[in-house]
């Protein structure tokens, strides 16, 4: 049982290195703007509101940090009748 665990377990040193590389890339870059996601969310909401009616609570913006790229997830819930109302 113990022997099995020993062989199946991943070496944690490599995980430590990968997590640090991602973290530090962002630590080094993010000394300026810590409010970035909040600002993006507000501006995206404003841009969409010009064309359709959306509930502010139904817009979610998430930033997932990665290397070599980070991904910005924008999730907007649009009600069925929103387009007609705005028009």
């Amino acid at each position: 049982m113990n022997l099995l665990r020993m062989f199946s377990r991943q070496q944690s040193g490599a995980a430590a290195r990968e997590r640090l590389q991602v973290l530090l890339a962002h630590d080094r870059a993010s000394t300026g703007d810590s409010e970035l996601v909040t600002k993006l969310r507000d501006e995206i909401l404003r841009a969409i509101s010009k064309h359709m009616e959306v509930d502010a609570d139904k817009v979610s913006v998430k930033l997932e940090r990665g290397i070599p790229v980070s991904t910005l997830f924008v999730d907007v819930e649009i009600p069925h009748d929103a387009e007609r109302k705005a028009a």
Binding site: A16, R17, L20, L24, D27, T31
Partner: protein, 271 residues
């Protein structure tokens, strides 16, 4: 004119004080005139590690406030006669350290000693930034562990922006001292590798100090590990680091490394 070294790390408990004492004693044993300065005002410990806790009369804050002369506050080591300690204050707080006061003391020490080694407090506040402010060389003490590496990265950023050297457009000479290195854990793959840490922090390696009971034993008896048992593994590693500080190009051997003679001869070299 002596060289000013700051021993710093950001994170606490990684071995700044142990390393300050061990390197200071190692340099002094080779005949250099060395003073180790405790910047951890309020939480002094260098006196304890050096075994001079019962001989402290005046401290760094007394000198800065003009209550004592520098020569009155310096404590000469009983074992190595070219080694001196300037203790921190235990009762005052770090607000008593003024930039002007620190500058005056460091300038005076530089004129009298070959090496002025400043033991920084943990953190990134006043005590730590004043300890690094006048440094010519920085030793970044890091454990092969995620939180220590992250904090070291932050400290390297401060060394490159908040020091006199940085403000004058010069680059601070920085060295990595990897401490509490556990070769058994490294062999199992459960520790950050030396190369990983070097690649992430990208500063040259000054030495690797193995995790060892000898370090604890030395601090128990109030002796720098290089004086307590000069032939122990950590002491040898500190002696070699001291020689690299002096400019010698000694190769760094990873503790417990199973390379043969060939591998050791052609092993990594200190950058």
């Amino acid at each position: 004119m002596g060289k000013v070294i700051v021993v710093t790390s950001g994170k606490g408990g990684v071995g700044k004080t142990t390393s300050t004492a061990a390197l200071g004693a190692a340099l002094a044993q080779n005949g250099a005139k060395v003073v180790v300065v405790d910047f951890d005002v309020g939480l002094r410990n260098l006196d304890l590690v050096m075994g001079a806790e019962r001989r402290v009369v005046y401290d760094l804050v007394n000198v800065i406030q003009g209550e004592a002369k520098l020569t009155q506050a310096l404590i000469r080591d009983k074992r190595v006669e070219t080694l001196f300690l300037l203790p921190a204050s235990q009762t005052r707080d770090k607000d008593n350290l003024t930039p002007e006061g620190v500058e005056k003391v460091i300038t005076a020490l530089k004129n009298a000693f070959d090496w002025v080694i400043c033991d920084s407090p943990a953190g990134i506040e006043r005590g730590a930034t004043l300890a690094m402010r006048h440094a010519d060389v920085a030793i970044v003490v890091t454990n092969p562990e995620v939180s220590s590496v992250r904090d070291s990265d932050r400290i390297i950023g401060l060394l490159d922006s908040k020091t006199l050297k940085a403000e004058n457009g010069e680059t601070m000479e920085k060295h990595l001292l990897l401490t509490r290195y556990d070769s058994a854990r490294a062999e199992r793959g459960d520790m950050l590798k030396v190369d990983d840490v070097l690649e992430i922090l990208s500063i040259p390696l000054l030495g690797i100090i193995p995790e060892s009971m000898d370090v604890l034993r030395a601090s128990n008896v109030g002796s720098p590990v290089t004086l307590a048992d000069g032939r122990s593994a950590p002491a040898i590693a500190y002696f070699e680091a001291a020689r690299r500080l002096n400019g010698e190009a000694l190769p760094v051997v990873i503790p417990g490394d199973k390379r043969g003679l060939f591998g050791k001869i052609f092993g990594r070299r200190a950058a």
